[in-house]
Each structure stands twice: as C-alpha cells, then as structure tokens.
C-alpha cells in the first residue's frame, strides 16, 4: 500500500527517549504516570504492550497520539507519521460517536478530509464488509454488540489509512470466542495493510498471540521492564511449547515489574 515504507523495514515510526509524564492532580499533588521510558517502534511492527492496570499504558498511547505532551525526555515521530492524518487511535471507551450510524462513524475521517459523500460512503461500506459488519451500516453504536462495536471502531480507524494504529485494550470487554475472532481479524488486517500497530493489553496470552514484539511494562510509575521478540510462525498455537515458555517468561517479567 505504501511502498515508500514497505521497502524500508528499519524506518522509525516512534521513538521515546527517557520520556516521563507527571500529572498534577486537582488536589495539587503530583502523580508520576511514566518514569523514563525508552521505546522504539519501527515500520511494520506489531508491538504489544502488556502491563497491570494503572501502570501508565494509556498515558503512553496518549503521548504517542499527541493528546498529551511528555513532561520529560523526547518523543519523536518518524516522517509520514502525522497527527490528525496518519495516526489512528482506538480508545478503551467511547470509541464511536453515539449520534452517528455505523456507516457515518466509519466515514467520519473521510468526511473531515473533504472527500465526497458518495466516495466516502463507498469506501466505508468496503471497510465495514472487511471487518464483517456488512448489513449493519444503519445501526447506532448502542444497537451493536460489544464485539461489533470494536469492529466498527477498527474500521473507523482504518478509514484514514493510518501509518500507525494505536489500540488501548480494544478487546478487553468481549467474550473469549469474540476476542479470538477479533484477534484473527486484526492480524489479517495488519498483514494486508503493512501498517504499524502499538497494541495495549493486560492479557499476556493476547500480547504473545498478536505481537512481533512484547513490551512488558511495570509500575507505577510506568517503565519498560523487558522486551521479547516473538518470531513464532502464524497462526500461532497457544499449546505449543515455545508459546507456553514465553508465556511463563512474560509473566515472570511482569511480576518482577510490579511495585
């Protein structure tokens, strides 16, 4: 899709050097969400970030999306990684506009770019079919099941053809069978489109199943504890020895990173 990137596997998409983030609470006390995070994400990677609740995962994604600025260190985005253009972000909650239909939710980014109604509609219909929501274009978000909403949110994000896709525990609130389907679909989309994904989860199994690299996050305050390159062939089998070994390693790293 994007030949200028496809040929350049080492192209840096996102680089964090010694990044810290401190919030000042309403009471006036400082909350350090992130302490000294070093992380580099390269073109085409599917990085899964696993960590306990409250360790700063969402804060890290917010920084990557430019929603907040670091209070220490440097955050650099690669060329072609432009906010409001090629960085899509699937939030943990409120991922769709409740007053729009599924179709117009997916078409939102195209509409903002001034793409004509007909063309945006056609494009959104294709995406909806791609994520398995053909026939649901007229429904409102509250009329969809949890899994369908996540599909719609992914389609909405893909509509802007992101170079970098940020996802915050997107499959955290769906049942196991639906999660497995969504995971398969996401891997397919990633392989088809050659985009880079930074995927946050608190589920170790999910992190290993999806990622080309698992970043184990500890805290609070958040920091990178360890990273694991995952070169298991896809589709991955949870019951194979290398998978279960990795699972134990990640779990151990995670436990060690807890304060």
């Amino acid at each position: 899709m994007r030949p200028e990137f496809a040929s350049d596997a080492n192209h840096t998409i996102l680089q964090l050097d010694d990044v810290g983030k401190t919030f000042r609470s309403d009471a006036g006390a400082d909350v350090t969400a992130l302490a000294s995070v070093d992380l580099t994400i390269r073109q085409g990677e599917f990085v899964t970030l696993v960590g306990a609740t409250g360790c700063g995962k969402t804060t890290l994604l917010d920084l990557a999306a430019g929603i907040t600025e670091p209070s220490a260190g440097h955050l650099r985005r690669g060329s072609g990684v432009r906010l409001g253009q090629s960085v899509a972000y699937v939030f943990q909650h409120y991922t769709l506009f409740p007053w729009r239909t599924t179709l117009t939710n997916v078409a939102f980014g195209l509409q903002m770019r001034g793409i004509g109604r007909r063309q945006a509609r056609t494009c959104a219909m294709e995406l909806l079919a791609r994520v398995g929501l053909a026939g649901f274009e007229k429904g409102r978000p509250h009329e969809l099941s949890g899994g369908m909403r996540q599909r719609a949110a992914i389609a909405q994000a893909l509509a802007i053809e992101p170079v970098l896709l940020l996802m915050d525990e997107p499959f955290g609130a769906v049942d196991d069978a639906t999660r497995a389907e969504l995971q398969r679909m996401l891997v397919d989309l990633w392989q088809d489109r050659g985009m880079t994904i930074l995927f946050v989860t608190h589920n170790i199994d999910e992190a290993i199943l999806l990622g080309t690299r698992v970043v184990v996050f500890g805290g609070p305050p958040g920091r990178v504890v360890r990273q694991f390159d995952i070169d298991l062939p896809r589709p991955r089998d949870r019951n194979m020895k290398p998978f279960t070994n990795l699972f134990l390693d990640v779990r151990q790293a995670l436990a060690g990173g807890l304060d």
Binding site: A65, I67, L83, G84, Q85, V87, A88, Y89, F91, H93, Y94, T95, L96, F97, P98, W99, R100, F108, G109, Q111, M112, R113, R140, P141, H142, R149, Q156, A157, A159, I160
Partner: protein, 285 residues
C-alpha cells in the same frame, strides 16, 4: 387469542380515554349549568357561547380582527423571535462552552440580564424600534399582509424570552460533552471548526433541544403578555384584552382556550422532534 387481546387493548384504551376526558366533561357540564343559572354571560359565559365563538374563527370582531387572524399574527411573531433566539442562543452557547475565554467574558453580562423578566424590556424595545415592522426593515412601507403586524419591538421581546433558556441549556450540553469524542474527532483529522460542527453540536443536541422546548414555551407565554400591554394593536393576547374591555367574556374564554391549545401543541411538537433526533442519549457506549 389474538382477537381477544386486540379487543382487550381497544377497550383498555377506551377506558383510559374516558378517565382522561371525564374531569373535563364534568367541568364543562358544571360550568354550563352554573353559567345558565347565573344568567350574566358578560361575566360568566356558558360553554355553548364559547363553543359558538370557537366555531367561527374567521369572524371579525369590530376593529380587532378574528380569532384565527390574531392567532396567526401571534404565531408569526413567536416564530421569528424564536428562530432568532435559537440561532444566537445556540451559536453563543456552543462558543462559550468550547472557548473558555469567551465564557469568562460573556457570562457575567448574561447572569445580570437573565433574571430580568422579558416583558420588562417591552417599553424600552418599543421606544427603540418605534413601531417599525419587518417589511419596513426591507424598505417596504405597507404590504397588506400579516407581516405588517410583526413589529420589531415584539420580536425583540420574544427573542429575549427564548434566548436565555436556549443559551443556558446549550452551554450545559456543550460543557458536558465527553472529551473522548473531541479527541477521537481530532485524531481522525477534524479541524477545530469541524469539531465544533460535528462533535460539540450533535453531542449537545439533547440539551439544545430541551432548551428549544423550554424557550418556545416561554416565547408563547411572553407574546401573550406583551400583546396584552398598552400599545399593542393585534395578536391573540390583544384580542383577549380587547374582548375583556368590551365585556365579551365568551370571546375571552375562547381566546384562552386557543392560547392553551397552541401552547400544548408547540410543546408536543418539540417533544416529537426530540424523540426523533436524540434516541442515543443515555445509551452511550
């Protein structure tokens, strides 16, 4: 089974209709009996006389016009004033809600003017606008239409009446918009103007519609009161006062009836609109 249930439903509806209508029927009956017994229709008119007036909405009453004609004058004034109040109230509300400095600048003024009864503005508005009408505003002297009755002063007072509830409700709505929606729109490429149009406005729509409903109700209150003031020459409120001065109490009650029905219809209409547009409210996911 089906048929039994159907009949049950129908008889149930009939019963509820009867229970709802019963107090009204009793009231009308007592009223009629009392009025006939009293025998002074210029103070207490029988129902039949009122109904007779309502049955002839086009009849001209001396120099003051007909029930229907005056009602349309009032409605036209309300409509214009209300639309202006809606446009200004919603725009300012969204602006104040999304830009903090605008809110800080404008809010004190709003808070001072808001408690002021809209009717209190009338003498001032008449003085400022004289009795200029809408056609005169466009350089037309006299159009021989209902528009000649639409004075700028009246519109101003209606505007004031509708403006504040619309503004405050819009402001509340916009302030309550989830930040997530704004951020989602920004990451998907929306400019600040597009966020205004495609996030703040639709997200605040439930409260905006509540404001519009309250505002329209208030406009209808205000126009009746304003038309009853000295200096007014038309409108259903004017006809009501004129009839009272001429001891035509049957006409007074007929006008009251129309005012009530129009008010209820406007409210009903706004409720329908709300229902249609904000089905998502309270079901955010």
């Amino acid at each position: 089974m089906e048929t039994a249930k159907h009949t049950e439903n129908r008889s149930g509806r009939l019963i509820s209709l009867l229970t709802a209508a019963a107090p009204l029927l009793v009231l009308l009956l007592v009223w009629q009996l009392a009025a006939v017994r009293l025998g002074r229709p210029w103070i207490f008119p029988p129902v039949t006389r009122v109904l007779e007036q309502l049955a002839h909405p086009l009849r001209t009453h001396y120099a003051s016009g007909s029930l229907l004609g005056n009602t349309s004058v009032s409605l036209l004034r309300v409509l214009i004033g209300f639309v202006l109040a809606a446009v200004v109230g919603i725009s300012l509300g969204v602006l104040m809600g999304s830009a903090r400095f605008v809110r800080r600048t404008v809010e004190p003024l709003i808070e001072i003017l808001r408690p002021l009864c809209p009717i209190a503005w009338l003498p001032f508005a008449i003085a400022v606008f004289k009795l200029r009408t809408v056609p005169q505003l466009f350089g037309l002297a006299y159009t021989r239409t209902v528009w000649d009755q639409v004075q700028l002063g009246m519109i101003f007072v209606i505007f004031v009446g509708g403006f504040f509830p619309i503004l405050t409700n819009t402001l509340d709505g916009v302030t309550g918009v989830r930040r997530s929606y704004v951020l989602l729109a920004r990451t998907l490429g929306a400019s600040p103007a597009q966020v205004f149009r495609h996030v703040y406005l639709p997200a605040a729509m439930p409260q905006i519609l509540t404001g519009l409903r309250q505002g329209l109700g208030l406009c209808w209150f205000v126009i009746i009161a304003a038309e009853m003031m000295i200096g007014s020459d038309s409108g259903i409120g004017y006809l009501l006062m004129y009839a009272a001065d001429n001891a035509a109490m049957d006409l007074v009650v007929a006008a009251m009836f129309i005012i009530g029905i129009v008010g209820a219809s406007l409210n009903f209409l706004m409720r329908r609109v709300m229902h249609r547009f904000v089905s998502w409210k309270g079901r955010e996911v």
